[in-house]
């Protein structure tokens, strides 16, 4: 059984006064296996963020099911939703979403504190991940004192610390310069090699080329996918570029 099964997901946005409706997602079907590093690519407005929000249970699908490790995300009660998210998913945002009232350390602890863990346990969990993420020396600092790349690493640590089944990343390199982006993507690769399932949404070819599988979304449907297989990042980069060119030209890959 796959870790994540998405079948027939559809999302229709109604305008405020119920007049026009926009179909953001038409019919999305895919699965993610445990330990995969999947990138979902698409242009702005293609529905990729909507999809991620539905996967993260931040938004509800109009129809279709999302099953994470046997649990139907759509059927979880509203009151249990936050707890479910906290226990099973780690979310990395484009704009970091760190709280400026907390030091990086406290930001990372936040989900654990919410889960009611003891300080000693939180400390040992943080010690495990701080070193590989390279944030050991930054922990006492506040978000405004560190660079974007450092903030995003702290955000990754926050997503990882609960030991989630899957990490969902929404355009994680979007607000970073190219050097920080590279570092972050290497980090994701490293995390993935440690066995962590990662699902990333991006429009950056560079970012997607780090993934083990790239899916393309256009006009609300999964249009195409490329497996990395044995190819290097550079080869995958080339493949993605070609696909995007074809997509832009309106070619039919199916």
């Amino acid at each position: 059984m796959s870790l994540l099964e998405v079948s027939g997901v559809k999302k229709i946005y109604k305008t405020r006064f119920g007049g026009q409706s926009v179909e953001a997602l038409k019919n999305v079907n895919f699965t993610v296996e445990k330990g995969e590093f999947v990138a979902i690519m698409g242009e702005s407005g293609s529905g990729k963020t909507t999809l991620l929000n539905i996967l993260a249970a931040l938004d509800k699908a109009t129809s279709g099911t999302v099953i994470l490790d046997g649990m139907d995300v759509g059927k979880i009660k509203e009151s249990q939703m936050a707890k479910f998210r906290r226990d099973n998913m780690g979310y990395v945002f484009q704009d970091f979403n760190l709280l400026d009232t907390f030091s990086l350390e406290d930001n990372i602890y936040l989900p654990l504190v919410l889960a009611g863990k003891k300080h000693a346990e939180m400390k040992s969990r943080l010690d495990e991940i701080a070193e590989p993420l390279g944030i050991t020396n930054l922990l006492k600092k506040y978000p405004y004192e560190v660079s974007g790349g450092q903030k995003q690493r702290a955000a990754v640590a926050r997503a990882l610390i609960t030991g989630p089944r899957i990490i969902l990343a929404d355009e994680p390199t979007g607000a970073l310069d190219s050097k920080s982006s590279d570092e972050l993507l290497d980090l994701f690769t490293k995390v993935n090699q440690m066995g962590q399932t990662v699902l990333m949404v991006t429009h950056s070819t560079k970012a997607a080329s780090h993934a083990s599988r790239v899916m393309f979304i256009k006009d609300g449907v999964i249009f195409h996918q490329i497996y990395k297989g044995d190819s290097t990042d550079t080869e995958l980069y080339q493949k993605i570029s070609d696909t995007l060119t074809l997509l832009a030209q309106g070619g039919d890959l199916k």
């Binding site: 707890k83 906290r86 009232t101 406290d106 003891k118």
Partner: protein, 676 residues
């Protein structure tokens, strides 16, 4: 650049930030209105002539300064938080090519607009409210109602002057903030995130010390009249201390809590402690303002309502019997004794003509002398003093000499006093030695009758300066020793007092008729003589007077409390709204990270409850510390009942707390709406 552009930009900027600027403007308007009303009541003379209002006028005059300091601190702080949110806008203007002077112009126009709104709105509101106050007041004391609009030019000018200075300072402070940051800093100021508040040990501890000093000063003041300046200092210290403690001290507390890892890393404490540290830094001033307003309300409400509650007691002390009469003249005259006895007979006869049965009659006369009492020595000469204002009221005491024969006869004792000795009694809080030197004469204390003073005159225990009764062998002889003393006007210091009081057994109308009749007789008898003061009144007649006086004061108290409470409501509303906008994104993030709605609600609740409990807890502490001095001030108006004051203050605290809780509930709903 077009000159008209700046006002336009300023106006648009304020309009776009209306949600924050409108409450700010309303707060300014209220501050101006409060200042005007208090100034008007204190200095326009509208209260003059209302018996007992002189203390109120004095306190209001002093309140003007308190309000000035308070509005300056509060408006300053509010405005600086407002401008913080607009730095990005200013940064953008400077990126687009405006220099610092141009920005200064925009801020200038903004300040001018707020100034105009505040002054005009505030004065109109203030004048309207002061008319309402005046009407209510005259109704209460049954004076003829006058529907003219009385506007005090003096108060208007003072209001404009004070607030112009405050707004000027605010403007300069804003300029300073803009001047010292570059365009890019301004643009980024929002994005950069706020620095975590540092625990400022110095300011925090300073706050505690200042507050403590204010408390100690307030408690140690013995004599409210001479120490009014000291009282003022105490109030200012408490205000400043409250601000310091709430701004810095609370951050300090949060930091200490954060050090305790087991406490801090708990779901309930984690978010609330850390955001409280920020909250207190930003909104400590708001809380301190709420706290001070609440304190003012509590002090006004409890003191005026306790006076009203107590008016019956006060009446009984002043007029222990149904009929009371009094006469006073200066100097010594051997015929006065005869006059006193003749007056007694005439009055009793006149009362009996109305069908009264004279009972419980206590009619006596005393010779009295005033002076400075130090170490049991009464120094009588005041002629070195040219001005009343230099008199040290702490030391002034009044001696009343009563003839032992008269005392025995009237009060039913059988005392004997040898020449050169005296039976001494005082109801006031002073201790006397065994030998008293009054002027040039020395008296040995042969007996003390402190516990019998109520019989002689119950009102003496509520007198401002202590009265010492001395029962002597021969009052005429004693009095003659003091003939030569004169005050700075050349008037004799020695005074002859005649007291008369009795019950009639008549109904209310009868008592009033007797009192009127006796007044006429006194006028006839004493008018031609050189008497400085004489009157006769009935207990019942005075009841109306007392009720109207204290009722008037209570009305004034309620009016002022209402105004202060309304401004308190606005500050709370303003605080909630601005915090709501700040917290909106923070709660969104927390929800994404996995905080349930319930967690959020719980965390908001506990945080707001703590934050909102602080002002009322501090206000109660302030009130508690102020009780001794309030009690002393109320003594001037004939009040002496500490347990009753404590009880009334507690009731006022409960009423205010309920009202406060209601405001809190309503405004926190506004907060929830913004956040969710």
């Amino acid at each position: 650049m077009n000159i008209g552009l700046y006002p336009k930009i300023a106006y648009e900027g304020m309009r776009k930030n209306g949600k924050l600027y409108i409450p700010y403007c309303i707060t300014c308007i209220l501050m101006v209105a409060i200042y005007y009303i208090v100034h008007f009541l204190a200095f326009s003379g509208v209260l003059i002539g209302i018996p007992g209002a002189s203390t109120a006028v004095q306190m209001l005059g002093f309140g003007v300064y308190v309000i000035t300091i308070f509005s300056a601190i509060f408006l300053f702080y509010t405005q600086s938080t407002l401008i913080k949110g607009r730095k990005k806008e200013f940064g953008l203007y400077s990126v687009l090519g405006m220099n610092k002077n141009n920005l200064g112009m925009i801020i200038f126009y903004e300040t001018i607009m707020t100034w105009i709104a505040a002054i005009f709105g505030g004065l109109i509101l203030g004048i309207g409210m002061s008319k309402v106050a005046e009407l209510g007041f005259t109704r209460m004391i049954a004076a003829p109602v006058n529907y003219d609009f009385r506007i005090s030019t003096d108060s208007v000018l003072h209001t404009i002057g004070t607030f112009t200075v405050i707004f000027l300072l605010i403007w300069l402070n804003t300029i300073r903030q803009i001047k010292f940051s570059s365009a890019i800093e301004l643009v980024r100021s929002e994005k950069a995130g706020e620095k975590p508040p540092k625990a400022n040990w110095f300011i925090g501890i300073l706050g505690v010390i200042v507050l403590g000093a204010g408390y100690v000063l307030a408690i140690r003041i013995q004599q409210p009249i001479s120490a009014l300046f000291g009282f003022f200092i105490a109030v200012v210290l408490v205000i400043v201390g409250t601000y310091l403690v709430l701004i810095a001290g609370s951050v300090l507390l949060c930091r200490i809590l954060q050090k305790n890892k087991d406490y801090y890393y708990k779901t309930n404490h984690f978010v609330s402690v850390s955001s409280m540290a920020y909250r207190m830094k930003r909104n400590g001033a708001g809380l301190a303002s709420i706290c001070i307003l609440l304190t003012i309300v509590l002090v006004i409400l409890s003191s005026t309502s306790v006076l009203f509650n107590n008016s019956e007691y006060c009446l009984t002390v002043r007029y222990p019997n149904e009929i009371g009469a009094f006469a006073c003249t200066y100097g010594y005259d051997e015929n006065l004794t005869d006059l006193g006895e003749r007056l007694d007979d005439i009055l009793y006869e006149a009362a009996e003509a109305h069908g009264a049965t004279v009972t419980n009659n206590k009619t006596y006369y005393t010779y009295s002398i005033c002076g400075y009492l130090e170490n049991d020595v009464l120094q009588v000469t005041l002629d070195s003093l040219s001005d009343m204002t230099f008199i040290d009221y702490d030391k002034v005491a009044q001696i009343q000499f009563i003839d032992v024969g008269l005392y025995n006869r009237v009060f039913g004792y059988n005392e004997t006093v040898e020449p050169g000795k005296a039976i001494v009694g005082t109801a006031n809080d002073i201790t006397l030695g065994d030998t008293l030197i009054i002027g040039d004469s020395t008296f040995e204390v042969s007996k003390r009758i402190d516990d019998r003073i109520d019989e002689i005159d119950p009102a003496s225990k509520i007198a401002v300066s202590p009265t010492i009764y001395m029962i002597v062998d021969d009052v005429e002889e004693v009095a003659q020793n003091y003939i030569q003393y004169q005050d700075y006007n050349g008037e004799p210091m020695l005074a002859w007092y005649w007291y008369c009081r009795f019950d009639t057994g008549l109904d209310v109308d009868g008592q009033i008729a007797v009192a009127n009749d006796l007044s006429a007789i006194l006028n006839e008898e004493l008018g031609p003589l050189n008497f400085t003061n004489y009157y006769c009144d009935s207990h019942e007649n005075q009841r109306t007077d007392f009720l109207s006086t204290f009722g008037g004061l209570m009305f004034l108290g309620i009016l002022l409390s209402t105004i202060f409470l309304v401004s308190c409501v606005l500050i709370i509303y303003y605080k909630q709204i601005s915090e709501g906008f700040e917290d909106k994104s923070r709660f969104e993030i927390m929800q994404k990270v996995g905080m349930t709605r319930e967690d959020i609600k719980k965390s908001i609740n506990s945080q707001m409850l703590t934050v909102f409990l602080i002002p009322i807890v501090f206000a109660c502490a302030h009130l508690f510390m102020a009780l001794p001095i309030i009690h002393k001030l109320l003594m001037l108006m004939g009040f002496m009942n500490m347990p009753m004051l404590v009880a009334t203050a507690s009731v006022c605290v409960v009423i205010c707390a309920v009202f406060y809780a209601a405001i809190y509930k309503v405004t926190s709903n506004a907060y929830y709406k913004i956040v969710s």
